[in-house]
C-alpha cells in the first residue's frame, strides 16, 4: 500500500446542543493512501461527513474537536492555524458537496466561482485562470463553456451544477478530493454520469478520492477500500473485495441485507430491528449491541476495539470470527 496522504487518528468530535452534547465522532482512525479511492459508508448521524469535515475545519460552530490528529502529508490539520488550513483547502484538498442547489453562491457567476479558488491560491494568474476555467468546464462536459461562464447557478440543472461543483473542487488539481454524498440529490441516470466523470478525473489526475455515501452500490463499484461507520465509530474497514466477500461485522451484514436489488422479488426481508442511536454520552459498550442478533453480555458491557482480523480487514466486534464463520 502506498504512503498515507491523509491519516486520521483517534478523532473525537462533539456537538453542543444546548441542553446536551452529541458524541458525533468517537475515536475514528483511518488513512487515505495516495491514489486510493476510499468509501466511507454509514447512515445519517453515523458521523461519516463530520469525520472528514472536522479535519478540514468545515463543521458548524457548535462542533468541537475533542482529541485526535489528522495528518495531511505529515502535517496535523487539527493543529494548524486557520490561515495554514485555508492554504490547504481548495489547493491540496478539494471538496464536492451533496446539494449542488445550495452549495453554489447564487449571486456569483459560476465562472468566477471556479476562478476564485485558483486566484485565492495564486495557482494561476487572471488570464490563465480564465482559460483554465473554460478548459475545466469543457472537461466537465458543460457545452459552450465560454457562454456558460457568465451564467448564474440557477440557470443550470442539478446535474450541471454538480459538474460545476466538481470543477471548483478540481480547479487547483488537489491531491485529495472529498466527495460528500455527491450523487444523493440527483436522478439515477445523472448519478451515473457524475460518477463516471469523477472516475475519469481520478484516473487522469491520479488523485485520491474519499467518497462519503450511504449507498453501498456507489461505494462498492467505485472504491478500493470501504469504511463502515456507526454511531461515530468505525465498525468495519476492509478492501472492497474482502468487504464484498466476507463482511465480518453484524451491522455490515445487516446493512447489506437491507438493500433490495433488482431481481429479488421472491426474497425474504430481514431488517435490522430498531434504529441508530444518537449518543449523548461516550460509548461504553458496543453501540450496535441493542440491535444486534449476536449480542452477548460482553457486547453490552465492553466496548469492542477495532482489530485486524485478517490483513487489511479491521472489525470492531467481539464476535467477528463467529460472524465470519457463520456468514461463509
Amino acid at each position: 500500500m502506498a504512503e498515507a496522504l491523509l491519516a486520521i487518528d483517534d478523532l473525537r468530535v462533539q456537538f453542543d446542543r444546548g441542553e446536551d452534547e452529541v458524541f458525533a465522532v468517537n475515536g475514528v482512525s483511518f488513512s487515505i493512501a495516495e491514489g486510493e479511492a476510499l468509501g466511507i459508508v454509514g447512515e445519517s448521524g453515523s458521523g461519516k461527513s463530520v469525520t472528514l469535515m472536522s479535519a478540514l475545519g468545515l463543521i458548524r460552530e457548535n462542533g468541537k474537536i475533542k482529541s485526535g490528529t489528522a495528518k495531511f502529508q505529515g502535517h496535523d490539520l487539527l493543529k494548524m492555524r486557520p490561515r495554514q488550513l485555508e492554504d490547504i483547502r481548495g489547493r491540496d484538498i478539494g471538496v464536492v458537496f451533496q446539494d449542488p442547489m445550495t452549495s453554489l453562491n447564487p449571486v456569483m457567476r459560476i465562472g468566477d466561482q471556479i476562478m476564485e479558488s485558483m486566484l485565492t491560491h495564486q495557482y494561476a494568474g487572471r488570464r490563465e485562470a480564465f482559460e483554465r476555467t473554460l478548459q475545466l468546464l469543457h472537461e466537465m462536459g458543460i457545452p459552450e463553456p465560454k457562454a456558460r461562464f457568465r451564467n448564474y447557478p440557477h440557470e443550470f440543472s442539478g446535474g450541471m451544477r454538480q459538474r460545476i461543483m466538481i470543477a471548483i473542487a478540481l480547479a487547483c488539481e488537489p491531491q485529495l478530493l472529498i466527495a460528500d454524498e455527491p450523487t444523493t440529490a440527483l436522478d439515477v441516470t445523472v448519478q451515473m454520469q457524475i460518477l463516471a466523470l469523477l472516475q475519469e478525473q481520478r484516473q487522469k489526475k491520479r488523485m485520491s478520492i474519499a467518497i462519503i455515501t450511504h449507498d453501498f452500490g456507489v461505494a462498492t463499484n467505485f472504491c478500493d477500500r470501504i469504511i463502515v461507520l456507526y454511531a461515530g465509530q468505525i465498525m468495519e474497514m476492509a478492501d472492497t473485495r474482502q468487504f464484498l466477500r466476507q463482511p465480518a461485522h453484524p451491522y455490515t451484514v445487516g446493512l447489506k441485507n437491507s438493500i433490495i436489488e433488482i431481481g429479488q422479488r421472491d426474497r425474504q426481508l430481514s431488517p435490522i430491528p430498531g434504529m441508530a442511536p444518537t449518543l449523548t454520552e461516550p460509548p461504553k459498550s458496543c453501540s450496535f449491541a441493542s440491535r444486534c442478533p449476536f449480542a452477548t453480555e460482553r457486547c453490552r458491557s465492553e466496548l469492542p476495539a477495532l482489530r485486524e482480523i485478517s490483513p487489511n480487514h479491521h472489525v470492531a466486534c467481539h464476535r467477528a470470527e463467529e460472524v465470519l464463520a457463520h456468514a461463509i
Binding site: 446535474g159 441516470t189 451515473m192 462498492t220 437491507s258
Partner: protein
C-alpha cells in the same frame, strides 16, 4: 365474469398553468388495478408520478380522462361527495413531518382521521389509536409526543397508522421510504407488506427506486415526462425491459457486485430530463435515446402490446 378492478384510470391528463405556460405533468395515462394488488409507478424527478397519485385520490383534478374507483366514476364528484369516499383511499407521504400538524400530538393526529368521519366514540377511537400504534410497531406512549420529537422512521410509521385508521381499500404510497435510512427502509417495506396481507390493501407505490418497485409491485408503469413509456406485470417487465428508457434506468442502478472483478462499468446515457414546459417533439425520449431515428423525432409513438398485458410506447418496439 370477473369482478371489475378496484381502480381504473382511463386516459388521464393533467396540465398545470405556470406563469402563462402549460406544464404537461401527466399525459394520457391509463391503468387498472385489482384489489389486493400493488401498482408501482417509477420515474425520475419530474416524471409526473406523484401528480398521478394525487389525481387518483382527487387531491388534484384531472383535465382529461376518467377515474373509476370500485366501479364508480369519481372524476367529477364534488369535494363534498368525495369526502365519504376518502375512507376508502388514503395516502402516505414522503415527508411525514410535513404532512402532520406540528401542533397536534401523534395521538390527536391519528384520532382526527376517525373523528372526521364520526367513527366510534372518543374512548373507542383512543383505543383504536393504541391498537394502530402497536400494529405499526410503535409503543403506545408516542401518542403523547409531538411530531418533532420522533425520528423519520417513527414518523413514517405514524403516517401509516393514520392512513390505516380509516380501514382504506386503496393506499397511495408516495415515495414513503426515500427520505429514510437504508436499514429503516426495509423495516417500513416489510411493514407495508404485512399490512397489505393482513388487510387486503391495494397499493399504488410511487418511487424512483426501481428495485423496491420491482420487489413490491404486481404491475409497474415507467413514466417519463408525464407519459407512461412502458407498463406491464412486474415480472414480465423487468425480465423483458423493452423501452430504451426502461433499459437505461435499469443500467443506471449501481448493484452491489459479488466481487471486485464483477463491478459495473460507469456508463450512462448523455443528457438530462428536458424541461416539461418544452417537451421534445415526437417521442419525448428521442434526444437521449441511443436508438432514435427520424421517425422518433417527428412522430409521437403509439402504445404497442409486446407481451402479456405488457405495453410499450416506442416506435422501435415490436
Amino acid at each position: 365474469m370477473p369482478s371489475s378492478p378496484l381502480l381504473q384510470v382511463e386516459e388521464v391528463s393533467k396540465r398545470f398553468r405556470v406563469q402563462g405556460r402549460d406544464l404537461h405533468a401527466v399525459e394520457k395515462v391509463s391503468f387498472q388495478l385489482d384489489a389486493g394488488k400493488t401498482m408501482g409507478l417509477v420515474g425520475e424527478s419530474g416524471s409526473g408520478k406523484s401528480t398521478l397519485g394525487r389525481l387518483v385520490l382527487r387531491l388534484l383534478d384531472a383535465n382529461e380522462g376518467r377515474i373509476l374507483f370500485d366501479g364508480k366514476d369519481i372524476t367529477s364528484l364534488s369535494p363534498k361527495q368525495m369526502r365519504p369516499l376518502r375512507r376508502d383511499m388514503q395516502i402516505i407521504f414522503q415527508d411525514p413531518q410535513a404532512s402532520m400538524s406540528p401542533r397536534m400530538t401523534i395521538g390527536a393526529a391519528i384520532e382526527d382521521a376517525m373523528a372526521i368521519h364520526n367513527i366510534g366514540t372518543k374512548a373507542e377511537r383512543q383505543k383504536r389509536v393504541d391498537e394502530l400504534l402497536e400494529r405499526v410497531g410503535l409503543p403506545t406512549v408516542v401518542k403523547y409526543a409531538f411530531p418533532h420529537e420522533l425520528s423519520g422512521g417513527q414518523l413514517q410509521r405514524v403516517g401509516i397508522a393514520r392512513a390505516l385508521s380509516l380501514n382504506p381499500k386503496l393506499v397511495i404510497c408516495d415515495e414513503p421510504i426515500s427520505a429514510l435510512d437504508v436499514s429503516i427502509q426495509v423495516q417500513v417495506i416489510q411493514l407495508l407488506q404485512e399490512l397489505q396481507k393482513d388487510f387486503n390493501l391495494t397499493y399504488i407505490f410511487i418511487s424512483h427506486n426501481l428495485a423496491v418497485v420491482e420487489y413490491l409491485s404486481d404491475q409497474v408503469a415507467v413514466l417519463y415526462l408525464g407519459e407512461v413509456v412502458e407498463q406491464g406485470p412486474a415480472e414480465e417487465l423487468f425480465a423483458n425491459p423493452t423501452h430504451p428508457y426502461t433499459q437505461v434506468l435499469l443500467q443506471s442502478i449501481l448493484k452491489m457486485p459479488d466481487d471486485t472483478e464483477k463491478r459495473q462499468a460507469l456508463t450512462s446515457i448523455q443528457g438530462e430530463i428536458p424541461s416539461p414546459f418544452n417537451p421534445p417533439s415526437g417521442c419525448t425520449f428521442h434526444p437521449r435515446c441511443p436508438f432514435a431515428t427520424d421517425v422518433c423525432r417527428e412522430k409521437k409513438p403509439e402504445r404497442k402490446v409486446v407481451g402479456n398485458q405488457h405495453s410499450v410506447t416506442c416506435h422501435l418496439a415490436n
